[in-house]
């Protein structure tokens, strides 16, 4: 079962290694059991004084042992290759899946868990094929082989040994269940504590300024104390089954010893030398089972990580059309009775119904939380509408091939991200084949040229992790240049100049004016220069469209837009 789950995390050609691994491990187990069993005839021969026979049996035992070595070694290597196959595949598979998930899925908590699962979690998962499967197979194969061998000499002893198996399995299962519950509690507490520690570290300045570090940050203290309590509960849950397991293994052993004694005393024992030799074997029957019990915590944790990975892969992606529609010929945008909510009951957009004509500039205006950014996100299909449809040139965005849709849109979003690398890498991302002239052109338009002259290395300047080597304004200009280089028919701008100083802002407002009438532009803006440069202004409030018209007309009407305008200009 675990193997079937693991095989789903591998590429097909790698999954084919699993039967080979299993075969090697099973053969190793059988040979090991055989080698162990051969100690009975050896000892029997020695105890009865048949030394030559003993030497012959020894040779057989040695041969079986060496053969089991070869098989074990092969199985260990195969197990490691399985682990590598999982490593090769699982992170890539998660990555591909993530790229297909709606952006709404990436909440801070999901993201935090994700990076832990992909880094440490996957490594814990690897222990399963690399280290834990082999003992599991051994525990499944060796004891039955030994019981069969004992049965050859004494059926009662064999039956008694076999009788302990279900009991051990039961305790193992019980321990596993208790352990899982405790693990979950600890895991949960550890996540909470982890988030609190990060928060405590990151919010130090605020916490200090309000005297919280002096008083002690109660939330952190609580989280750490909860973690300690959960761990203590885990001790009580995990230790008893573990101890019970050793008890049972040893008790089974003692029971077999007592049975042997009974048989001897009752005179029903056959051959005394054989019986003595069997004692040695009886001693080995339960050992592999004990090993598995000792490794149970590791197996449990690895299975837990396996479940985490499966959980991520089971998140439903944004559905892709099976037969994508043709690229739209026009680029007008229609929101058709659009409703959207991240969670039921709290609508972000409520019945938005509006058409934006091709090659017009539309400004979205409204208080924070009014749903302006969501309008852009639905258009770029970062999420899907809850009801209604978003259409470009009459085609539902959900019917377009995702790559084709992305090709239609050039965005400058608040969340637009720069990747570690040079400024050139980041701009070229939009159109890798663009030549130097094209780059120079967008650099001029986005006011990048001033920055390139100033920054060390110019185009080759490293932007740092997430672009944080640059100031907010510099980052924004790189994003604008990138969007311009893409040269797509639809331009989406979400507060594209919020971090710029007055001078650059004015320059970019002029840029917007030059693009007017040549692209379908949707811009979210607080700056009134941008609004007045639009053909049309949509005012959103609580997810509803409350005003719609040309900026001058709205100003004259004296409604919300006019009020916002007044508030911004010295109210």
């Amino acid at each position: 079962m675990i193997l079937a789950r693991l095989s789903r995390l591998m590429a097909a050609q790698d999954a084919r290694r699993i039967p080979a691994f299993l075969t090697a491990a099973a053969v190793a187990g059988v040979l090991q059991g055989l080698a162990l069993a051969l100690v009975v005839p050896v000892l029997d021969a020695l105890l009865t004084g048949a030394h030559t026979r003993a030497i012959l049996w020894c040779a057989a035992m040695l041969a079986a042992t060496l053969a089991s070595w070869a098989a074990s070694h092969a199985a260990a290597l195969a197990g490691f290759e399985l682990a590598l196959a999982v490593l090769r595949n699982v992170r890539r598979q998660i990555g591909d899946h993530l790229a297909a998930l709606p952006l709404g899925w990436f909440t801070p908590l999901h993201t935090a868990r994700l990076s832990v699962t992909i880094s440490q979690g996957v490594m814990q998962l690897l222990a399963l094929p690399a280290h834990q499967l082999l003992p599991l197979v051994r525990a499944a194969v060796v004891p039955p082989v030994l019981v069969l061998a004992i049965a050859l000499f004494d059926i009662r002893l064999a039956l008694a040994a076999a009788a302990t198996f279900p009991l051990l399995a039961l305790v193992y299962w019980w321990g596993g269940r208790l352990g899982q519950a405790a693990d979950r509690a600890v895991h949960h507490a550890a996540e909470e504590a982890g988030q609190r520690v990060m928060e405590y570290a990151q919010a130090q300045s605020v916490l200090r300024a309000f005297g919280v570090t002096q008083r002690g940050h109660a939330a952190l203290k609580d989280a750490l104390t909860d973690l300690a309590h959960a761990s203590r509960r885990q001790i009580w849950m995990v230790l008893p089954p573990l101890v019970a397991n050793s008890w049972l293994v040893q008790l089974g052993f003692l029971g077999l010893m007592a049975l042997t004694a009974l048989m001897v005393l009752g005179g029903s024992a056959g051959d005394a030398p054989v019986l003595i030799a069997l004692l040695v074997l009886v001693n080995r029957v339960l050992e592999p089972l004990g090993d598995v019990a000792a490794a149970s915590a590791g197996i449990r944790m690895a299975s837990g990580e396996l479940a985490h990975v499966e959980g991520i892969l089971a998140e439903p992606p944004l559905p892709a059309p099976s037969r994508p529609a043709a690229l739209p010929a026009r680029h007008d945008i229609r929101f058709e009775a659009v409703r959207f909510a991240y969670a039921p009951g709290t609508p972000v957009l409520d019945d938005l119904d509006v058409t934006l004509a091709e090659n017009t500039t539309t400004a979205l205006v409204g208080a924070s939380g009014a749903g302006k950014s969501t309008v852009l996100h639905l258009l770029a299909r970062f999420c899907d509408v809850s009801a209604g449809a978003v259409r470009i040139g009459g085609t539902d965005v959900r019917d377009l091939d995702p790559a084709a849709l992305a090709g239609l849109i050039a965005p400058v979003f608040q969340t637009t991200h720069l990747f570690s690398g040079t400024i050139r890498d980041n701009v070229l991302m939009a159109r890798p084949e663009a030549d130097a002239a094209a780059l120079a052109h967008v650099a001029r338009l986005a006011r990048l040229d001033e920055m390139l002259a100033r920054l060390p290395g110019g185009w080759a300047c490293e932007v740092g992790e997430g672009g944080h080597g640059l100031s907010g304004g510099e980052r924004q200009r790189v994003c604008i240049a990138r969007a311009l280089l893409k040269d797509a028919p639809i331009l989406l701008l979400d507060e594209p100049t919020s971090a710029l100083d007055a001078e650059n802002r004015q320059a970019l407002t002029r840029l917007l004016a030059t693009l007017r009438g040549r692209r379908t532009i949707v811009v979210v803006a607080h700056q009134f220069e941008w609004m007045s440069a639009a053909d049309r202004v949509l005012v959103l409030e609580g997810g509803r469209l409350v005003e719609d018209g040309a900026p001058a007309a709205l100003l004259a009407r004296g409604g919300r837009y006019a009020a916002l305008h007044r508030a911004a200009h010295g109210g």
């Binding site: 080698a35 000892l43 105890l47 030394h51 003993a54 030497i55 040695l62 042992t65 074990s72 070694h73 260990a76 890539r92 993530l98 952006l103 990436f106 990076s115 440490q120 520690v197 928060e199 570290a201 990151q202 919010a203 130090q204 605020v206 200090r208 300024a209 919280v212 570090t213 940050h217 203290k221 750490l224 104390t225 230790l239 101890v243 040893q250 003692l254 010893m257 004694a261 005393l265 003595i276 004692l279 040695v280 001693n283 080995r284 970062f382 790559a403 992305a406 965005p411 969340t415 991200h417 990747f419 991302m429 997430g466 979400d494 919020s498 971090a499 007055a502 979210v524 607080h526 109210g571």
Partner: protein, 575 residues
């Protein structure tokens, strides 16, 4: 760190003693089997003797298991208590370390130290020490017993050990502190790649083709894979062979073969060989645990080193001659500050804030405005010159007194994952609901909070997702409630993602109105806010180049006037 460990030593010592006794007792069944074998072979076993043997074996086993359980309980509880103590101490230590040192360390590493590294100590304290004790006692006892039985065969059974250790040395060397650190770094890179990949997801979707989309992520995981494979693959064969050398089946076969030779040569009797056959395979597990225990010790050493680094962060010591601030006057006299000791960020600042006045600091970005503000809260240091708050030298004000006296609204608002109420009452946990609501109303955020299903009880970041502007207004409500004698306000630029500027500006204006009578230092990016100040200073490259009121500075026609015109497009007519 070491002192914390010392507190657990007594418990650990007790556990190790319990474990050693347990290890000896646990050998009772094996010994019993040996006795039983002898009885059986003698032909006519005495029933009473046989049952006594079994009873003794059971008693030994029972006692051994009970002691082991006890030892595990002792270590686990000792570890549990130690972990909590260490973590709380680490948090406390962090709270007293200079912010710059903390920032250098990074929240990721701090989290690793406080949680993961303390967890690595768990393996040492709860498991490794008693495992090692168990393994060592068991191995020594068995070898001792076997040597007494038959030195020659016992010697043969010692043979696999050096071979095993030789092979395992390579495995141990590979898990040395240096290699483990490289592994940690490699894993950290994967972590970082995931974070970047997720942060850039929308960009990837819009700009990256399927091919290029997450190249960086793929490169990082491929790089890790290459590192990991190169690291582990050479160890695989020695590790596998090493484990086979001490496998029970190997030890049993070795015993049988060598024993058969000895018995047939007449150097040993067959019954002794039975004892060997019983005991020899029992060596396998403890020998294996000896090396895994050694490995845990190594891992724990690395974890301890990282924890030590956290505890080695310098501490802000309470001033020897504490001075308490009285009143709202703030003075900076010839203050110089530099982050690196070379490039001055503040270059001779002289500034007096009279009690109850509003001073606005304006200037281009990078002029040192925010540094000036943070200096007043001792977030940076050391500086040259003298700063006094309420007449007391900033260097001699105890931390709690300073933060009671000075309030701060930051550009980067940190809302904690706690209820809206707790976020607002951060500085004054005893505030009444009426006070909280009044503060929220003044910050124009009350209506937004009430629109949440659970209102003030909604948990920020979970039930309530605030935009940058809304978060800023909560921070303002927080500052209003805190209401100290002096305020430093670092006005957010609009880049606080999508702040509704008009609303923030209103909230800020409310804050200024409500704080009348308090001394306020306003770091202003928006000159409209600064225009109403009693005093405006223009900071450029760490120096004050202009100071005056709005009217006087406009009349002066200098840097301030130019900035004002740029923001307002046209020369100022009337205010």
């Amino acid at each position: 760190m070491i002192s914390h460990l010392r507190s657990a030593w007594a418990a650990l010592l007790l556990a190790m003693l319990l474990q050693a006794a347990s290890a000896l007792l646990m050998l009772a069944p094996l010994a019993g089997m040996g006795v039983l074998a002898r009885d059986i072979l003698s032909g006519a076993p005495d029933a009473e003797a046989v049952w006594r043997t079994i009873l003794l074996a059971s008693a030994g086993l029972g006692g051994g298991l009970a002691l082991r359980g006890l030892a595990e309980l002792v270590t686990h509880f000792a570890d549990n208590a130690l972990a909590l103590r260490l973590r709380l101490a680490a948090a406390d230590h962090m709270g007293r370390a200079p912010l710059t040192a903390l920032a250098r360390m990074g929240s990721g590493r701090i989290k690793q130290a406080v949680l993961d590294d303390v967890l690595a100590l768990h393996h040492l304290i709860a498991h490794a020490l008693i495992d090692l004790t168990n393994a060592a006692v068991t191995v020594l006892a068995i070898y001792g017993f076997l040597f007494v039985q038959d030195a020659a065969l016992a010697l043969v059974l010692v043979l696999p050990l050096p071979l095993f250790l030789l092979l395992y040395r390579r495995v141990l060397a590979a898990s040395s502190a240096g290699r483990m650190a490289a592994y940690g770094t490699a894993l950290g890179q994967v972590n970082q790649a995931v974070v970047e990949f997720v942060a850039g997801m929308s960009t990837v979707k819009m700009f990256g083709g399927a091919m290029r989309s997450h190249r960086a992520y793929r490169e990082a995981i491929a790089g890790f894979e290459a590192f990991f494979t190169a690291w582990v693959r050479p160890l695989l064969r020695p590790e596998s062979v090493a484990s086979l050398i001490i496998a029970p089946v190997t030890l049993l076969t070795l015993t049988a073969c060598a024993g058969t030779l000895l018995v047939s040569m007449g150097a040993m009797d067959a019954l002794t060989l039975v004892s060997f056959a019983l005991f020899a395979p029992a060596l396998a597990a403890p020998v294996g645990r000896l090396v895994t225990g050694a490995q845990s010790l190594q891992t724990a050493r690395g974890a301890m080193a990282r924890l030590d680094a956290l505890f080695a962060l310098p501490q802000e010591t309470p001033p020897e001659a504490p001075e308490l601030p009285v009143g709202g006057a703030v003075r900076l006299e010839n203050v110089h500050f530099s982050h690196n000791g070379r490039d001055p960020v503040l270059d001779g600042i002289d500034l007096a804030l009279a009690p109850g006045t509003l001073t606005a600091v304006v200037g281009p970005s990078g002029a040192g405005k925010s540094t000036l503000a943070r200096l007043l809260l001792r977030f940076h240091g050391p500086y040259e010159g003298r700063i006094t708050i309420g007449g007391a030298d900033l260097r001699h004000i105890p931390a709690d007194a300073l933060y009671r006296h000075m309030g701060f609204v930051f550009q980067d608002t940190h809302l904690l994952r706690a209820s809206v109420r707790e976020n607002i009452t951060l500085g004054r946990p005893d505030a009444t609901p009426a006070e909280i609501e009044a503060a929220a109303r003044a910050a124009t955020i009350h209506a937004r909070i009430m629109a949440l299903p659970r209102g003030y009880d909604a948990i920020c970041g979970e039930e309530a997702r605030f935009s940058g502007g809304e978060a800023q207004r909560i921070a303002i409500a927080r500052a209003l409630l805190h209401a100290p004698d002096a305020f430093v306000l670092d006005e957010p630029t609009a880049h606080a993602d999508g702040a509704a500027q008009a609303e923030i500006r209103r909230a800020f204006a409310a804050l200024l109105r409500r704080s009348a009578g308090r001394t306020i230092l306003l770091i202003a990016h928006d000159l409209d806010l600064a225009a109403g100040a009693d005093q405006i200073v223009f900071l450029d490259r760490g120096r004050i180049i202009e100071r005056g009121t709005h009217a006087s500075l406009l009349a002066q026609g200098g840097a301030y006037a130019r900035l004002w015109q740029m923001q307002h497009g046209a020369p100022e007519t009337a205010s």
